[in-house]
């Protein structure tokens, strides 16, 4: 029985292996390339094998990357957050350093270190192929999910908000749909992880559809003043409104009953 089983397994493997060998060889090459890039660009903080580095005080210098998955790498490197230029409260979004191929290689290497979500497929976040009506319904649902889960930190229009100790929830408008999806999936920096059990993939897609709709929609009400809420409105009321009107008051008071400046000067 045992022999039979072994034979069967061996036989099946022999039959199926050639087809897989190609991809696994590609995969292996990608992981190898990723590891080389990792040793040069990431290992200083994250450790030679992605095991993480602790400071002398025992806090994280660079966190372990053994179970973060490819999606986290694609997000952090793909938005320029990694590699960090300097330690700080938070890794800011900046110019992207690695090419797409290099990012994919890094992601493949980090994914090979353990578990974690893969880079999402395009159909998970794109509304391509959906009818106008379906998209409209998706946007409405996405708006409500957005207001319930995201606005508390990212603001009602995705303009961003403050977090403790110099951290911040960044502006999330004009961000690539894939990166928004990955952010929800992996919860970068101080963000919560919105797993598929928490916000199912179709709801993630709805949030992305809503954000894209906000990008497309005209500003119905004029200049939005950064969409930051009442603080910027108050500044405009004082600087623009009151400043302008006081200027006019000075102008009116500076003019006497005389109808022309010439006469005014002649009288003086």
């Amino acid at each position: 029985m045992l022999v039979c089983g072994l034979l069967l397994t061996g036989g099946l493997y022999a039959a199926l292996a050639p087809a897989q060998a190609d991809t696994s060889q590609d995969e292996a090459a990608l992981v190898k390339e990723g590891r080389e890039l990792f040793l040069v660009g990431c290992a200083f903080c994250h450790g030679q094998n992605g095991e993480g580095v602790l400071t002398q005080g025992g806090s994280q210098y660079g966190p372990a990357l053994t179970d973060v998955g490819a999606a986290a790498v694609d997000f952090q490197v793909g938005t320029g957050r990694m590699p960090m230029a300097q330690p700080g409260a938070q890794a800011p979004r900046k110019e992207v350093v690695y090419t797409e191929e290099e990012t994919a290689a890094l992601a493949a290497y980090v994914a090979s270190l353990g578990t974690g979500p893969a880079v999402p497929d395009k159909e998970l976040y794109s509304t391509e192929g959906m009818s106008q009506k379906e998209i409209e319904a998706l946007v409405v649902r996405g708006g409500q999910i957005f207001l319930a889960n995201c606005t508390a930190c990212h603001n009602f229009e995705g303009s961003g908000g403050a977090m403790p100790r110099g951290g911040y929830a960044p502006k999330i408008r004009g961000v690539d749909s894939k990166h928004i999806y990955e952010a929800m999936l992996t919860g970068p920096q101080s963000m919560d992880t919105f797993s598929d059990g928490n916000i199912p993939p179709e709801d993630k897609k709805a949030v992305i559809a809503y954000l894209n709709e906000l990008d497309k929609a005209p500003s119905y009400s004029g200049f939005t003043l950064g969409s930051l809420g009442p603080v910027s409105e108050g500044i405009i009321a004082w600087v623009g409104g009151i400043g302008f009107l006081v200027g006019f008051a000075v102008w009116i008071a500076a003019h006497t009953t005389r109808s022309s400046k010439k006469k005014d000067e002649a009288a003086a």
Binding site: A89, V140, V231
Partner: protein
């Protein structure tokens, strides 16, 4: 009545009303009305009423005219707004919310924004107008305080003004809450929390206001009644009283040649002041309309309907509630638990104690100053802020406290825009709200006294001409020339500071007991109030200065006549 008729009336000083000459229609109607209502004699007096001219006297007008704009746009909004918390399914023009369940109030706010022609413009004008209304009341109040216009006999009008500021704030808050969007609801939720922070009666007050547990379905209709009926009625009545008192007291004026405590120098109501004020109305209207047309304010469709489980970053009140919000943000989490009751000092102090306290300080300022200085005279001539250094410094200290608390209310926006840590801003503000006003007080007071000294210098030594003269010895000196008479008059047309009784005088009088202690306290405060002030020069000093100036002028002229440049530039 037409302007033409009025100008005829105004040319006489007779005691009987002028009648329109000729049988023109307007004149006939005017005559008809006059014979029945007595308008002629009433208006004859008032349309020639003189108002002094200065830009700072028009700040209150901004408040008046923006209030008119808010009333007009508000009437438009009432035609479409449905103040009901009945749940409806949205079916309007804004796609991203279609089908969402919401209150009628919010749905009608969306309809005003997207389906009513001109509705969004009216909504934005109403909101911008309200922001400007309260802001202009505040700068008007600063002007009145800093120029001493609150002094006898205008103390009661000062109090009416303070009440207008309070009512305007409450009016603004109820209006902010009406659209029932996420921001409104968060504000109402905060107000609910503030009420519940009152010891013992808090939860009763909350249930009373909301007609049950928050949010209930009564709060929007209740706020609506307050917002469009109760508070505007009170505001209108107080505005009327404020302006009647203004007419009764007559407007204050700056000192200058021909201006005394007994007269008012300026332009008559018609035609000059009516044209200026009327024109200013259109400027205020135009400014608010432009803002409503160009700048987004409270884009309710982005916030979504209120739902107690949701909140957004950047949830702030409108600016006039920003300073208590700031104090709320920076106060440490102080709570006391006693007999099963939680006393939330962290909410009570910034919200339930500080705003009423500030209002009471504001209202008490005229009386406190009058008590300390012992000044019971009537004042119709204004004081420059520098000539009352302590008063000016008190207001600047209050403004500093206000401004810092206000900035703390935007701590999250400051943090993200200036890349700072919100915690560090909070720690800084905790110290700054105490230290800042003290520093501001000292700097302002010394600054005022320096300006007084500068004025004295100009009076006694003339103004700086910019003409440098080299003496035969080789030294350089700037020549000063005497001020023009009008300017010198304006600088000297002020009373010397009163000289209240001193502690020594009270001791010498042998008075004892509680009243004597109070008098001594007052004497000490008065000494501090007037300390280091510069009094205006005496007539002898000015006379002497004049002589000196004449002498200098002669000297300068002879120097020029004898100098190397008498035939033009020297040849090389």
């Amino acid at each position: 009545m037409t302007v033409g008729d009025m100008s005829k009336v105004a040319t006489t000083n007779g005691t009987t009303p002028a009648t329109a000459k000729g049988g023109k229609a307007a004149g006939t109607i005017a005559n008809w009305a006059d014979e029945r209502l007595g308008l002629g004699s009433a208006m004859k007096k008032n349309i020639r009423k003189v108002f002094p001219d200065h830009w700072s006297f028009m700040l209150g007008e901004i408040a008046l005219w923006s209030f008119v704009v808010v009333l007009l746009t508000g009437v438009f909004l009432t035609l479409w707004f449905d103040p009901s918390m009945t749940e409806v399914q949205y079916d309007g023009a804004y796609d991203p919310l279609r089908g969402v369940h919401m209150s009628s109030a919010y749905a009608s706010s969306l309809d005003i924004s997207f389906d009513v022609r001109g509705g969004l413009l009216m909504r934005q004008m109403h909101h911008w107008g309200a922001m400007i209304f309260i802001a202009s009341m505040m700068i008007h109040m600063l002007r009145v305080y800093l120029t001493g216009a609150f002094r006898k006999p205008r103390e009661l009008n000062w109090i009416i003004g303070c009440l207008l500021l309070l009512l305007g704030t409450i009016e603004g808050f109820t209006g902010y809450s009406l659209p029932d969007d996420l921001l409104s609801g968060t504000g109402v939720r905060a107000a609910d929390g503030f009420m519940k922070a009152s010891p013992i009666v808090g939860s009763y007050m909350s249930f009373f206001l909301f007609g049950g547990e928050f949010p209930g379905d009564a709060i929007i209709p209740r706020f609506y009644a307050m917002h469009i009926l109760l508070i505007p009625g009170l505001l209108l009545a107080l505005v009327a009283a404020h302006m009647l008192l203004l007419v009764y007291h007559k407007h204050t004026q700056w000192p200058g040649p021909g201006r005394t405590e007994q007269n008012v120098v300026g332009y008559p109501m018609l035609p000059v002041y009516a044209a200026k004020a009327g024109g200013f109305f259109f400027i205020v209207f135009g400014t608010i309309a432009t803002m409503g047309g160009l700048f987004s304010i409270n884009a309710v469709w982005k916030y979504g309907p209120y739902d107690p489980s949701k909140v957004t970053a950047g949830s702030q009140p409108d600016w006039y509630m920003g300073w208590p919000d700031g104090l709320l943000r920076i106060i440490p989490a102080w709570e006391t638990h006693i007999w099963g009751i939680t006393l939330s000092w962290n909410v009570m102090i910034p919200i339930l104690v500080m705003p009423p306290l500030m209002l009471m300080i504001l209202m008490a300022l005229p009386f406190l100053e009058a008590w300390i200085t012992g000044d019971k005279r009537e004042h119709h001539l204004l004081q420059r802020p520098r000539n009352a250094p302590t008063r000016t410094a008190i207001m600047v200290a209050l403004m500093t406290f206000y401004g810092l608390s206000w900035a703390a209310g935007g701590n999250d926006i400051i943090a993200i825009k200036l890349h700072l840590s919100i915690n560090q801003i909070t720690y800084f503000m905790r110290g700054a709200v105490f230290i800042g006003p003290v520093i501001a007080f000292i700097i302002t007071r010394r600054w005022c006294i320096s300006l007084q000294r500068h004025d004295e210098g100009k009076l006694l030594h003339g103004y700086e001409t910019g003409v440098l003269v080299r003496s035969p010895e080789g030294g350089y000196a700037e020549k000063h020339l005497p001020l023009p008479e009008g300017k010198a008059y304006a600088l000297t047309a002020r009373d010397d500071d009163p000289t209240p009784e001193t502690v020594e005088e009270i001791d010498a009088s042998g008075a004892t007991g509680r009243s004597a202690r109070l008098r001594k306290l007052r004497a000490k405060l008065a000494a501090l109030f007037f300390a280091d002030n510069v009094q205006k020069p005496t007539a002898e000093e000015l006379h002497e200065a004049q002589h000196h100036a004449e002498h200098e002028l002669h000297e300068l002229e002879s120097q020029i006549a004898a100098g190397p440049n008498r035939h033009g530039p020297a040849e090389h």
